[in-house]
Point group: C2
Chain length 264, copies 2
């Protein structure tokens, strides 16, 4: 038999998913349910924590437990990297897609810190450099309004960015056109990319930094950017609040028997 707290949680979960409890609705207070004979305070509390972990409600002290609104997913396609956006135009690549998506937005606040760090194993592999060698790290925290949505840290080889605007950080996202524009001006035009992504539960640090609600997973994105000759000029790691993003990719079905590039 399912535990008492599970049954209580399931009753509410059903009503929330079914729409009888609309987003923003406040659930009964814990003490009310205790008086109504649903169990002790700890038991009811466990039920509420379960609902929170399932992303259905948020509890705040003094305020109550309310049904969480389901955020609209922002869809990320490769069009957000369009060269036109950062080469010809004035916009910055990773902001521009907000314009393209037609979403009303205030100009993103974005903190940025640049530092010289030793490459750990992930970064070293991403940039094709030895573990422990020095690379430049440009870390940003991107917010929508006051709410952080994701962090993004770009790593560069020193020889590619030494003396550019990237390592001499001005306020804002590496100046006009962003990091790709800087690389372009330095003679490194980006040509192709690889994105790898997977989901996991956040670390406690990430929960703090991104102000994640309880039970929110994160998607970790590894982006490797190459020039036409195959040189890696940027390796970036993004940590995204899972409920805010969806990723989309279009591709041709490979045919290794016909095209001789289908190897991967």
């Amino acid at each position: 038999m399912a535990p008492k707290w599970r049954e209580l949680a399931d009753r509410f979960a059903e009503q929330i998913k079914g729409g009888q409890l609309a987003p923003g609705t406040q659930l009964p207070q814990i003490r009310e349910l205790v008086e109504a004979g649903e169990g002790s305070k700890e038991t009811v509390h466990k039920a509420y924590k379960a609902l929170e972990a399932e992303g259905l409600v948020t509890s705040t002290r003094g305020h109550g437990t309310v049904v969480r609104p389901r955020a609209a997913l922002k869809r990320l396609g490769i069009a957000r990297y369009d060269k036109a956006k950062w080469r010809d135009g004035d916009e910055v690549a990773f902001i521009a897609d907000r314009v393209a998506s037609g979403r009303a937005y205030k100009r993103n606040e974005q903190t940025q810190t640049v530092s010289r760090v030793e490459a750990d194993s992930v970064v070293a592999e991403g940039l094709s450099v030895p573990v422990g060698s020095e690379v430049y790290a440009r870390a940003r925290l991107v917010k929508e309004g006051v709410q952080p949505t994701h962090s993004l840290t770009s790593y560069y080889r020193p020889e590619h960015v030494e003396g550019t605007r990237i390592v001499d950080p001005t306020p804002g996202p590496a100046g006009r056109g962003g990091g790709y524009r800087v690389l372009y001006d330095a003679g490194y035009e980006i040509d192709h990319m690889r994105e790898a992504l997977f989901a996991r539960v956040p670390t406690t640090d990430e929960v703090q930094l991104l102000q994640l609600p309880a039970g929110e997973p994160v998607v970790e994105l590894h982006r490797t950017t190459y020039t036409a000759d195959g040189t890696v000029v940027e390796f970036a790691v993004g940590i995204h609040s899972a409920s805010r993003f969806a990723w989309e990719y279009d591709f041709k079905v490979p045919d290794s028997a016909r095209d001789r590039k289908g190897q991967e």
Copy 2:
């Protein structure tokens, strides 16, 4: 100040991440920690549940609480759809990538059920049919050994598959070559695809079906497959245990100023 259970959990989390507590190691029993003055049984229990939710340990009654091994990520690239695998060869596309990845594997057990269902809004949009119209659904549960790794449900328009092996289910994955081979034989050769993916916490049903450990997120994959003329011939929804997979995509940086297809 952080709660007592959080501090206790953090102490263990640090040791696990630092490697002092190797995978498979058993943590002290709850009662031991109670005697050691770490708090009451409920308090220590909360700490252990937190570690479980963070994916660091698994608790089982009668057995104890042990450090969870970190599973190797299976990397999914588009090469798994290679036409050579299902058109020319004998293999089935979604099994073949296991061969390509060089991983030792036993032949996958895979349950399969085919049914005629009414399209919900997601499926309707995926297949470009009206909501509520009848479509074929082919649901599979894919396992590695006895452990489920993901579910995958393909939806087809009736006019594309009526009379084929897909709707006349034989044991195994739609016969030799899988679903794409069947479509190919019926005159629908797949040409390009779109994959969209996002992460979320599983429903209780999914926890059961995929036997997910506590705190494991899922990745939901929406795959749309087109013929050369742009007709949708398959829309598939996959639910993947997050810690077992990573997705990889390679693409050219788009340039809408130069190529006139960069709209997306």
